[in-house]
């Protein structure tokens, strides 16, 4: 399709504008972290805001976020790898039902779905209320559709011929999966892990609704805003959790990219 020049220019401007609208809050937050009050243009550059944070309790919240991120990633891979594999490679009764049901969490807004889990736990497992496994489960269930979808795409673009070749060479199906299929879908696996980790470490609702008070970083920030409103120290907290989580994800990417040399384009 050939577009005329004015149309192209308009599209270009629209794209830049959208990018700017998306990125602006992040820039504003970074600027505000180093000032005395939330304002534009920023004035009075200072590091005072860093001193106004109750560091021990915020560190605890960050640690909880990261723990939740790690365990959720592991749990999600354990659930979603087999699920994505059978959905993509096997034909079995109930397959189409499963592929629809897996997407249930995306239909409900986060709060309603997590509340539904809360009610379910209160009825059937009252002694587990507020425990870490329940928060973990709530976090993981919400991210299942994202991770299954990402993994399913990896399996779909990987020729089953590699597995068949491995089987004829004398590998058991599990051996073939671990030594051949898994490394070949490696890049997709890392992407899925990054999605799972980010979603869990940045999560708010499960800790808020299902937890027993220990906040995640997002929940901690929410409480701070409730207490003191939007201040530069809130901006600092947001900045820190962003840097930590994105830093971990980037590090994961660089470490694993070496592992899968020859597969990443």
């Amino acid at each position: 399709m050939k577009l005329s020049r004015p149309v192209l220019v308009t599209l270009n401007i629209a794209a830049l504008l959208l990018a700017f609208i998306l990125i602006w809050p992040v820039i504003q937050m970074m600027l505000s972290s180093f000032t005395t009050d939330i304002d534009f243009p920023p004035r009075n550059f200072t590091l005072n805001a860093f001193g106004n944070i109750v560091w021990p309790s915020y560190f605890l919240a960050i640690r909880f976020s990261l723990e939740l991120g790690l365990w959720t990633t592991l749990l999600l891979l354990a659930i979603c790898l087999p699920a994505a594999y059978v959905l993509e490679r096997r034909r079995f009764p109930g397959r189409s039902l499963l592929s629809v049901l897996i997407f249930v969490p995306t239909i409900f807004p986060g709060v309603t779905y997590v509340s539904a889990i809360g009610i379910y736990v209160a009825i059937f497992f009252p002694y587990l209320r507020g425990t870490f496994p329940i928060v973990l489960l709530g976090t993981a269930m919400g991210a299942i559709p994202l991770v299954v979808r990402a993994l399913q795409a990896s399996f779909a673009t990987t020729d089953p011929v590699y597995e068949e070749a491995a089987l004829v060479m004398g590998a058991h199906p599990l051996q073939a999966f671990v030594r051949v299929t898994l490394p070949i879908i490696g890049p997709g696996l890392i992407t899925a892990s990054m999605i799972a980790f980010t979603a869990a470490a940045m999560s708010f609702t499960p800790a808020f609704i299902l937890g027993s008070g220990q906040p995640t970083a997002a929940y901690y920030i929410y409480r701070e805003i409730g207490k003191v409103g939007f201040t530069p120290s809130v901006a600092v907290m947001v900045l820190i959790i962003q840097v930590v989580v994105l830093g971990i994800v980037q590090a994961m990417y660089f470490i694993f990219r070496r592992q899968f040399r020859g597969l990443f384009v």
Partner: protein
């Protein structure tokens, strides 16, 4: 190395029957080709032998062992696929060595065997390359090496050349034949390419619609097709409707339908009686253009009416008529250019080799 026997194998996909009770015998050390049009069930048969598909009925034996329900990883086989299947996350060395480890080779024997097999497929010095550092032909040779390295009972080749370009295909086919002769490994080659099958195989199985149509030496199937399908699938065949006029030792005299013309054919493998309708098959390559005065020295000399002549590479394809029946001739040799320059109205030809096929 082993004999492979398949007994009345049936495989259904829902309402479609891909294999309708197939019996196959693959001699020890042979290079057997399964040839047939796409959808004839040849790949299904191969995948059943590999253990990647479970047949609905029938038995498969490799050597003296029945393997019908044995998992693929417990059959000692090597397999080369149509699509690229060299593991992209492993080097050439690792691809081959992993297969040897899976077959429980001694650790100290593995490097020597990998070197040996890489030499055989002419990839010496490429041990550390990965898939993206090899050409398509090289990657396919790695897969052949990987399949042969553990000394399998049977090597399965599932259209191994069809992803390659024409020139490379001929080269690699010749190499496969050499390697097969050198190792003596019983080999089963599935292909839809008749020239590939005729060139490489010493035993040919012709399949159509889930059934074996004919099995035998390639030359035999080429020279003596036993059915209309065999006659038409391999090469360009002229099918002339005839009736048996009389049996004349050592052959059969036929009368061409709607024409006052008699042809002589060898005695066919099936019983014939006088008055029986048959097809007389004459290959386009088995018709010789001859000077009229030498006619008495030839068999089945007829005069044909030329309609069109076209160059198709190594030979000139002539469309002609023998009485009312269309006849195609492939003329090779230097005389073919004269045909193009001034197309004669009539040609005297000898139908050198006539084969009979049943007609009902």
């Amino acid at each position: 190395m082993a004999v492979v026997r398949v007994e009345s194998l049936v495989k259904r996909y829902g309402a479609v029957t891909a294999l309708k009770g197939v019996d196959v015998f693959i001699p020890n050390g042979s290079l057997t080709a399964i040839l047939g049009p796409s959808g004839c069930g040849k790949t299904t048969l191969l995948r059943c032998i590999a253990g990647l598909l479970l047949p609905d009925e029938g038995r498969i034996y490799i050597g003296s062992q029945e393997v019908t329900r044995v998992e693929p990883f417990h059959r000692n086989l090597g397999m080369v696929f149509q699509r690229p299947s060299m593991f992209p996350h492993m080097t050439v060395y690792e691809n081959i060595a992993w297969g040897l480890r899976l077959r429980r080779w001694q650790k100290h024997e593995i490097p020597r065997r990998v070197r040996e097999i890489l030499e055989l497929v002419r990839l010496k010095g490429m041990e550390d390359r990965r898939y993206n550092q090899l050409s398509g032909g090289q990657a396919q040779r790695v897969v052949i090496a990987r399949a042969l390295a553990p000394k399998p009972d049977l090597l399965l080749l599932d259209e191994p050349l069809s992803a390659l370009d024409a020139k490379l295909r001929a080269e690699l086919l010749a190499e496969i034949v050499d390697i097969q002769r050198e190792t003596g490994c019983t080999t089963l080659l599935v292909t839809h390419d008749q020239s590939e099958a005729l060139t490489a195989a010493d035993n040919l199985i012709l399949m159509n619609e889930g059934e074996i149509v004919q099995q035998g030496a390639p030359l035999d199937i080429y020279r003596r097709p036993q059915s209309v399908f065999s006659a038409n699938f391999i090469g360009t065949n002229n099918m002339l409707p005839c009736t048996v006029a009389r049996l004349d030792a050592p052959g059969v005299v036929l009368k061409l339908e709607d024409a006052p013309l008699e042809l002589v054919a060898d005695l066919p493998a099936f019983p014939v009686e006088i008055g029986q309708p048959v097809w007389a098959c004459v290959r386009a390559d088995d018709i010789d253009v001859i000077p009229q005065e030498t006619a008495p020295h030839y068999r089945n000399v007829v005069k044909i009416c030329v309609e069109r002549a076209a160059l198709t590479g190594g030979f000139v394809s002539v469309e002609a008529r023998l009485e009312a029946h269309p006849l195609r001739i492939h003329v090779s040799g230097s005389a073919r250019f004269a045909l193009l320059e001034q197309s004669p109205a009539f040609l005297t030809v000898s139908l050198a080799h006539v084969t009979l096929v049943p007609r009902d």
